[in-house]
């Protein structure tokens, strides 16, 4: 028996990330020079002593499955519990794709029941934050709640972009509003829930029978629980939290790592390590002609150009005379000499020829390129770009 089992939703496609999720699920998108987005939640789990975890995958899971492996980097390679990847499956009585977040959990009730837990933690794999789920669980137990939802204060002017929870003074939730025009509160749901398993299970079974339901936690399960006046509480989280849902926010979250404040200590905090499935590349090589400022550079890189406010993943080469600014270069990218990249996200293994110049406008979203997009760009301009 386990006190609390974690269920990590990692099946999302992340349409708004454009080309970044062409071939991989959003949680598997490379992040922060060495990590993938999901590493933050996986590390939160292992640091919070959640040792039994189901990871629900659906969209393009190959990279994600390989990345998680047997869970070793997060100390989740365990005989009893550990990490289990839960993909959609077929069975005697049908079986089908996960049709919503709640449905994904519903279809894996038998997985959770194996451990006979008292509580279930439901989180998603596409947020960047460092959080001790034990504190959330403690509050849940103390308030004797059916569900506890983690919230963060957002600026009032942004509140209408979030799922907002209206609470009484003692944080009991009486209303949930998805993207309200006239928000009554600025406490946004972070998509992190703790449920008392017995209660959640009953609601999941009920919801599964409703043909009108979209089988979603925010849209269906939470409203149904509120309707029946279940004990729902908000847990106030203070700290850095970012939903990397769009290219702009993905880029911002990466740049945040370079800044003072959260970025200064996030990755070097010995008490809250962010672990990943690390590679074995040799140390980075910084050449005679290199100039590097305000940047993060991973192993296996050869840097001979100017790098400013940028993030270089493993095995990247930037040749002489090139300038990289405010850009993110994924693993295996090479940049030929005398090229300029400004606010560009370059995807894995793209080869940028000598003399290429790509800059995003100052106000627009950063440009995302991969080999196909780049070849198209260069063909269209007939090499003008060079």
């Amino acid at each position: 028996m386990k006190e609390c089992v974690g269920m990590l939703l990692a099946g999302g496609e992340g349409k708004r990330l454009g080309a970044l999720t062409n071939r991989i699920a959003k949680p598997a998108v490379p992040f922060g020079g060495m990590y993938r987005i999901i590493d933050f939640t996986l590390s939160n789990c292992s640091n919070s002593n959640i040792q039994t975890l189901g990871v629900l995958t659906q969209y393009s899971p190959l990279e994600l499955n390989r990345h998680i492996g047997n869970g070793k980097p997060w100390d989740m390679d365990r005989r009893n519990g550990g990490v289990t990847v839960l993909s959609p499956y077929t069975a005697k009585t049908g079986g089908e794709w996960y049709s919503g977040t709640a449905d994904a959990i519903y279809q894996n009730i038998h997985f959770i029941d194996q451990y006979n837990p008292e509580y279930v933690l439901v989180i998603s794999g596409d947020h960047i934050y460092q959080m001790d789920y034990r504190k959330l669980l403690n509050q849940h137990k103390q308030s004797n709640a059916d569900a506890t939802i983690s919230v963060i204060e957002v600026p009032w002017e942004d509140a209408s972009r979030f799922g907002i929870l209206n609470t009484t003074e003692n944080m009991r939730i009486y209303e949930f509003e998805e993207k309200p025009d006239q928000p009554q509160s600025n406490l946004a749901s972070m998509g992190i829930y703790i449920f008392t398993w017995e209660t959640l299970k009953a609601y999941l079974m009920k919801d599964a029978r409703l043909t009108t339901s979209s089988h979603d936690f925010g849209k269906d399960i939470i409203p149904a629980m509120l309707e029946e006046e279940r004990r729902l509480y908000a847990y106030r989280f203070e700290g850095y939290w970012k939903d990397v849902g769009t290219v702009q926010s993905y880029w911002e979250a990466n740049m945040d790592l370079l800044d003072e404040g959260w970025g200064r200590s996030a990755l070097i905090n010995r008490n809250w390590k962010i672990s990943t499935n690390d590679s074995n590349f040799p140390p980075q090589f910084i050449g005679e002609s290199a100039e590097v400022h305000h940047s993060m550079i991973n192993s296996g890189c050869f840097v001979k150009g100017k790098i400013d406010s940028s993030i270089l993943f493993k095995d990247v080469e930037v040749k002489t005379g090139s300038t990289i600014e405010q850009s993110i270069l994924h693993p295996g990218v090479t940049v030929g000499s005398n090229s300029v990249l400004r606010r560009v996200i370059v995807m894995e293994n793209t080869e940028i020829p000598e003399g290429t110049n790509i800059s995003a406008g100052d106000d627009g979203e950063p440009v995302v390129i991969n080999q196909d997009i780049l070849d198209g760009m260069l063909a269209m301009t007939g090499g003008e770009q060079r």
């Binding site: 020079g33 060495m34 980075q284 940047s295 993060m296 550079i297 991973n298 993030i311």
Partner: protein, 368 residues
Amino acid sequence: MKTLMGLINLEHEHHVFNELTYFRNNASIPFAGRYRLIDFALSNMVNSDIHEVAIFARSKYRSLLDHLGTGENWDLDRRNGGLYILPPDWNDPTDVSKGDLQFFHNNRDYFDRGKSEYVLISGSQFIANTDYKEAFKLHLDRGADVTLISTSVDELKEEHTPYYRIQADDLGWVQNITNERRNPTLFTGTYIINKSLLRELVDYCIAYNFDNFFVHGIKDKLSNLKVQIYRHKGYSAFINSIESYYRHNMNLLDEENYRNLFFKPTFIRTKISNNPPVKHHNQSMVKRSILANGCLVDGDVEGSVLFRGVKVNEGATIKNSIIMQRCEIDEDVYLENVILDKDVHVTKGQQIIGSKDKPYVVAKRQEI
């Protein structure tokens, strides 16, 4: 299918590392930012499809054990075969063996149980990125008893002095193993031997009270054995002194050397540490250097090798130096031709300057 099993024999290695080996054996000396010397021998074995490797380690092996762990970083955490670290714990009252024969005698089980009929034996001081598949093929094709891996050096240096030289005929049969200083064909300490012969020679050496398996069992018995030479080509180095250690680290700051040693399909593996990427802050000025992950740089670094987790504060300058894991260099420090072992803290404003031929070495865990 004929296969090899591996043995890394750390007995009888030549070394004068002073401060660097106060608390560790030479196989676990840190090298090139994140490796230890043994990584090369071990990776080359794994890259030669060897799935079981034994290590004879007599002393100061705490850091070696810590580094190797279960062998998972070399894919040696296996149900069948894997890694066998064999320290000197033996209790045979009839044992009369000496030198490395003690290891061979007391670990006969390793050779008896292994399914491979051939053994690849090496030390830890020959640094190269290669595999021995071709050498093994040659060994089988020629029907040799023993195949010695050699390398040719362009310029003979101090560090080459202790190594044997090989004379071979046109067909590659070894005629002589000598100390002839001017012969540039050096024995790398790596060789392939038929397992049945190894057993026989171990018995012979013990019977005659010898204490060095290679010297007495192979070199002195050369005329009775069919010994081939296999010439290794490509980047390589012998590291057996502070001076050669320093110089070979510095040689890697030449991009071509660095690529030749590390960027090949056969990868050199080491313990994975999960340190974050290097953070270059606003004031950093890094040139011609190699930096391992986990470093935080806000000063000037030139011509240097920084290991994992080194912190260089604003206004500090590091030139032509090797700074090992987790050292912290405070503001306005000046270091030139210096080797700092792990966890050294250099406080504000200090200046340490060594010479190129005799770099200044600071032992582990000191505050200066």
